[in-house]
Structure formats: structure tokens, C-alpha cells
């Protein structure tokens, strides 16, 4: 039983990171139909910047903040310079574009920080054991923050007027514009939110899971799988998808074969896409003519 508990906890923790990245995917896709493959790199970059800042004497909270702010600025820049200028953006096109950007980003991180992975200092807290399960305080930080963030972001998207306006842009861009909503600004805001989410993910993950120039790839892909589980447009779905994916990965690694861990996300992806293209956690949408 303690094994199950241990595996569940580990799965929830890494799942929390996936969830944050996944919500970043959903945040952008729900507004503009753009699939932003640099989402993983946001997390990696935030971690690396925070580590450098912290290594240069900045106190931990400030270093973390610096990492997050850097990534938000980057996200806004990407939207402005790369995404916005394209007149007829399709999701497929956005994949290739952001793939190019993420490749360049990765290599830049390699250039600046070198190939080794590093960890940020952990957030304050003591590790303890409860019911035979070793609990790292960092796990609790990750879970706690991701839950709070998920609630905040989904509240924003679903309950506030601004959030609803953002979502309107993806469904009916012309009508939204007629209603006075600036689609361009909506896209910009959504990228900023995605950057924020990615940055938080990176800073939280770094103490436990390490940041390296190429840690963004796996994180981004798994975050995408999690977002797809949730239907790609739902913040809540992405959050749940992230946790589910993390737990499934951990259980498969623990009970079946540790070597299969990285394949889990993609097997899940393919199964979900073939069986329920609109996402597992999404309610059935009536077919449109």
C-alpha cells in the first residue's frame, strides 16, 4: 500500500508540472487555434534563468520571479514577431512555426548554459514521512501551486468577461471583432498567460526534475498530450489531463516496466486521438453542419 502511495505521490507531483504546461497549451489554443510547441522551452528557460540569478546572489523568490518574467516577455515577443504577422494561420502552420522557434531556443539555451542539467534550490519546507510514504516538501509545493494556478486561470477564462472575450475569439473571430474585442490583443494576452504558466512550471520543477537545455522537449510533448486528454480548449481538462498522465506514467513505471515510462504518454495520445478525438474529458459536442 505504501508503494502505491509513493507512486501516486510521485505521479501527482510530476503530473502537476505537466498540468501547468498543459494549461499553457490550452490557454493559447482556446483563443487562437495556435499550438505553441515552445511551451516546454518556457519551463526550461525559466528554470535556467532562475538558477543563474540565484547563483549570482539573488534570493530565491526574486530569482524565481526573474525566471518567470523573462519567459513571459519571451512569450509576448514570440506572439508579436512570429505569430501575429502570419495572415492565414492554421494550426498545422503554427506547429511548424513554433517548432522552428523552439529549436532555435533550445540551441540558444545550450549556448548560454551548456549541456549539463542543474537544479534550483528547493523551496523552503521539510521532507517528512507519512504512513510509510516519503513526502518531499517540493512535491507539495508543486501540487499546491498548480492547483491554485489552475483554479485562478480557469476562473479567469470561464467566469470573467475578459476571459470569455478571449475564448470568443477562437470560436468566432469575425463576430468577436465586431463586438469590439481585439483579436490581436487577445492572442497576445493568451501568450502572456501561457508564458506565466510555463515559467511557474519551470521554476517549480527545477529543484526536483532539473532544468537543462533539452528538458523542454519531453515536457512540452507530455504537456501537449495532457492538454489533448482534456480537449485542448479546456483549462480544467488540461489540468486534470496533466495529473492523470503523471499518475499513469508513474504506475506503469512502477508496476509494469520502468523502461516504458516515456512511451506511456504517446501511447495514451494515440489511443485517445483514435478513440475520442475531442478529448476524453470533454463532453460530447453536437456535430456542426
Amino acid at each position: 500500500m505504501t508503494d502505491l502511495g509513493q507512486l501516486l505521490l510521485a505521479g501527482l507531483s510530476v503530473g502537476g508540472v505537466y498540468a501547468l504546461v498543459a494549461m499553457g497549451f490550452a490557454a493559447i489554443y482556446a483563443v487562437s487555434g495556435v499550438l505553441n510547441l515552445t511551451q516546454g522551452e518556457f519551463a526550461a528557460l525559466a528554470g535556467l534563468v532562475a538558477i543563474s540569478a540565484s547563483g549570482n546572489g539573488f534570493p530565491l523568490p526574486l530569482a524565481a520571479l526573474l525566471g518567470i518574467v523573462t519567459v513571459v516577455v519571451l512569450a509576448l515577443a514570440i506572439q508579436r514577431l512570429i505569430i501575429a504577422p502570419v495572415r492565414r494561420m492554421t494550426t498545422l502552420l503554427s506547429i511548424i512555426l513554433t517548432l522552428g522557434v523552439s529549436t532555435a531556443l533550445k540551441a540558444t539555451m545550450l549556448l548560454i548554459w551548456g549541456p549539463e542539467g542543474r537544479g534550483l534550490d528547493p523551496l523552503p519546507g521539510n521532507d517528512f514521512t507519512a504512513a510509510g510514504v516519503a513526502v518531499r516538501s517540493q512535491y507539495l509545493w508543486i501540487l499546491g501551486v498548480s492547483v491554485v494556478v489552475a483554479v485562478a486561470v480557469s476562473w479567469f477564462y470561464e467566469r470573467t468577461l475578459a476571459g470569455k472575450a478571449l475564448r470568443a475569439c477562437a470560436e468566432q473571430p469575425v463576430a468577436a471583432r465586431l463586438a469590439g474585442i481585439s483579436v490581436a490583443r487577445a492572442s497576445l494576452v493568451s501568450f502572456g498567460i501561457a508564458g506565466l504558466l510555463g515559467g511557474i512550471a519551470g521554476v517549480l520543477a527545477s529543484p526536483v526534475y532539473f532544468s537543462a537545455w533539452d528538458s523542454g522537449l519531453a515536457l512540452g510533448l507530455k504537456g501537449f498530450v495532457a492538454a489533448t486528454l482534456g480537449g485542448l480548449t479546456s483549462i480544467r481538462g488540461a489540468f486534470m489531463g496533466g495529473l492523470v498522465l503523471g499518475v499513469v506514467e508513474s504506475l506503469v513505471a512502477g508496476y509494469i516496466d520502468t523502461g516504458l515510462r516515456d512511451a506511456v504518454a504517446f501511447v495514451v495520445l494515440i489511443v485517445v486521438l483514435v478513440a475520442r478525438p475531442d478529448g476524453v474529458l470533454r463532453r460530447q459536442v453536437a456535430a456542426r453542419v
Binding site: 507512486l7 542539467g117 521532507d127 512502477g254 516515456d262
Partner: protein, 389 residues
């Protein structure tokens, strides 16, 4: 829109110019003539998964080249070192090897790891080019005529593990190994070496070389309840695995591989490293060796030189590179640059005192190191210490 098109065209032209820079005829120097500089190529895993090996190896080779040339070279000839990065990929290694061949180098040092070395091996054999690899797996030299290696074979390392287990009365071992070529065959070798003493592997867990999550593996090891556990990997994975091992409260003694013999491991594992046992090359405990140890003076000199140049202690991988370089220099000094003669000389090396150990090569054994090349160390207070017997 025309402006954008023009920009695109200009960018295309610029890219073309950069590409032609790559077409610039690469210098062909060295060769089999007996005058002029000696060309040595080094193909290392500098970026990618093998970076923690390749970077110190490059540093060592560059340091030694400088020292050698400052001291007058070999019989008046300078040594020209060309370092290439294979990016820890097989085609990177093969590409670089082909280029070394067309550059007509006299000898190649590389690669840092098994997979990349294997990619180079076929080319070395076909082109009859002496090659000194720093990879761990014996597959690299098994049956080869032109390839030698300076890192200990897994069997040498594992023989130490078996001896230690036997001395402690352990019968069952749990294994968590790196899923790359570094960790392959460990369970099988351990089982065959330990058979005579009734020691066997009761659980095998795998982790990716870049893994950061080890809960599943350690939970399974905990459940296997082996007498002792062996973590076989390189940092940071090995260090993070060590941390998880301790965090889960596993009380059984833990051993590590020779891959952890560097400061990165200690820094990453922190206090969790205390108490582990690992067979490593004597380099990390050079200062604790008795005065009559044959390797002591070579080790101490190397450590001091490296520290003076790079302000950090050299890792065991740096040591492998030192051995490769000095073996090559030794051969060049003795027989010149004729490739066949160099190869033959290397095959007959006896009692060569290196960093990784004392080398004695034979036609059947192109590794030249036995289990005596390693000592058992432990970690105490985040420092390496010779293990109590």
C-alpha cells in the same frame, strides 16, 4: 510584400554563403611521412548525453598537447590535435571519423562512450587507423585489431563488486541501471561473475540516462529486499537516484559504479552520497594512496597540472583521456607514425602506468586493465575516501 520576398531572397543568399564556408577545403596535414607535425584526431562526446565525459576529456587532451609541444614535442615533431564533437550521436561519430580519415591523421582518440565508439570502430578497422577509445563496454574492442580502450571493462569493475559482496556475506543484489549502452550487460556479467560465490541479481530496474524521476525504480528495489543494491549510471542520473534511494528510507547498503568518480556526482547527491561504496580508479583518492603505490606520482602530477590549468579536480573521464594520449605518445616516441608499427607497439604495452590503472595489453585483450585497476571508495562528509577494508 515584395520587400519580404527580397528579404527572404537575401536571407537565402546569406545562408548559402555560410554553407560555402563549410565547404572550405579542410587542411590535410600529417600523414605517414616521418617529418612534419604528428596529426592526432580526437572525436569526443562534447555535447549531448555524453557531455560530462567529453568535456573533461577535451580539456585533458588540450592541456597535454600544450605541455608536450612546449617541451619540444616528440623527437622534434609537434603534435597537432584536432578535436571534433560527435554530439553523442552515432552518425556524428561516423561523420567525424570519415573526416579524420580523409585528413590522414596518424591516430584517433575517441569516443567517450560505447555507442559512439562502435560507430567509429568499423571505420578504424577498414582504414587501418589506430584508435584509442575511452568507452566502458568491452564490445568496443572485442575482436578488433586496430581499436584499444583505456577505460576499465565492466567485468573488471564488477569483479570488485563481487569481491566486496562476498566479503560482506551478501548473496542477493538489486540493480538499478542506466538504460544506455553503459548499463547494458551489467546484470548478466554480475550474475556470471558471482555464480561461483552464490551471488545473484534478484531485481533489475532501468532508468534513462537523462531521467530525473526515480521513485518507481527505488520502490521496486525496496520491495525486492536484496542484501545490497547497486546503482549503475553516470551523474546527474546516478546522483538523483542516490538521493531518491535515501529519501525512500531504504536501509540496505548501496553501491555505485565507476561512473560516479567526479565532483558533479558529489555536488548533486549532497549528503545522500554518504556511506555508499563504489569501485573507482585511484584518481579520486590520489592523495590518500600509500607512498609505494605505483600510480601515485603520476596521479598527483596530473591532478596538480589539471587544477592549475582549470581550477577544478579532474574526473575519471579526464583520466581515460590522459591514458589514451600518453599511450599514443609513448608509441610515437618508440616507433614513429607508421600506423602498423604504432598498432603493434600498442598491443605489446606492458606495465604502462596510467591514471586509470597499470596497462598490459595483449592481442586478445585490448583493454589492458584488470580488477586491480580499481579501488573501493566511500563518501564521507561529501568527500571521497578509501573504503575501509
Amino acid at each position: 510584400m515584395a520587400g519580404i520576398r527580397a528579404l527572404g531572397a537575401a536571407a537565402a543568399v546569406a545562408a548559402l554563403l555560410v554553407a560555402t564556408a563549410g565547404c572550405a577545403e579542410k587542411d590535410t596535414g600529417g600523414g605517414t611521412d616521418e617529418s612534419g607535425p604528428i596529426a592526432v584526431g580526437a572525436i569526443l562526446d562534447i555535447t549531448g548525453a555524453g557531455a560530462s565525459l567529453g568535456v573533461p576529456e577535451r580539456k585533458t587532451l588540450e592541456l597535454l598537447t600544450k605541455k608536450l609541444n612546449d617541451a619540444g614535442g616528440i623527437n622534434g615533431r609537434k603534435l597537432e590535435l584536432t578535436v571534433e564533437d560527435n554530439q553523442s550521436t552515432e552518425d556524428g561519430a561516423a561523420k567525424a571519423m570519415n573526416q579524420m580519415v580523409s585528413k590522414k591523421v596518424d591516430l584517433v582518440i575517441g569516443a567517450s562512450r560505447t555507442g559512439t565508439s562502435l560507430a567509429m570502430r568499423a571505420i578504424a578497422e577498414t582504414n587501418e587507423l589506430p584508435m584509442l577509445s575511452m568507452a566502458a563496454n568491452v564490445k568496443v574492442v572485442d575482436g578488433a585489431k586496430w581499436v584499444f580502450k583505456t577505460a576499465q571493462n565492466d567485468s573488471a569493475v564488477l569483479a570488485n563488486v563481487v569481491d566486496y559482496a562476498k566479503s560482506k556475506g551478501w548473496k542477493t543484489i538489486g540493480l538499478a541501471r542506466d538504460s544506455s549502452a553503459f548499463g547494458e550487460g551489467v546484470a548478466e556479467t554480475l550474475n556470471s561473475l558471482g555464480k561461483a560465490d552464490g551471488i545473484s541479481v534478484v531485481a533489475t530496474e532501468k532508468f534513462a540516462p537523462d531521467a530525473t524521476e526515480f521513485t518507481a525504480q527505488m520502490v521496486n528495489l525496496r520491495n525486492a529486499k536484496a542484501d545490497a543494491n547497486l546503482i549503475w549510471g553516470i551523474p546527474p542520473a546516478a546522483a538523483l537516484a542516490q538521493k531518491t534511494y535515501k529519501q525512500l528510507g531504504i536501509t540496505a547498503p548501496v553501491m555505485q559504479s565507476h561512473g560516479i568518480g567526479n565532483q558533479v556526482f558529489l555536488d548533486t547527491a549532497g549528503p545522500a552520497a554518504d556511506g555508499l561504496i563504489a569501485p573507482v580508479g585511484r584518481l579520486v583518492v590520489a592523495d590518500q594512496l600509500p607512498a609505494n603505490d605505483p600510480q601515485k606520482s603520476v596521479l598527483t602530477t596530473f591532478v596538480n597540472n589539471y587544477k592549475a590549468a582549470y581550477n577544478e579536480t579532474p574526473s575519471t573521464f579526464a583520466g581515460h583521456a590522459w591514458d589514451a594520449f600518453q599511450l599514443a605518445v609513448d608509441a610515437f616516441k618508440a616507433v614513429g607514425t607508421d600506423k602498423q608499427k604504432v598498432r603493434d607497439h600498442l598491443e605489446q604495452v606492458k606495465g604502462f602506468v596510467g591514471i586509470t590503472g597499470v596497462f598490459t595489453m595483449t592481442p586478445q585483450d585490448h583493454s589492458g586493465l584488470g580488477k586491480e585497476a580499481l579501488v573501493l571508495v566511500t563518501v564521507s562528509g561529501s568527500k571521497w575516501q578509501l573504503a575501509p577494508a
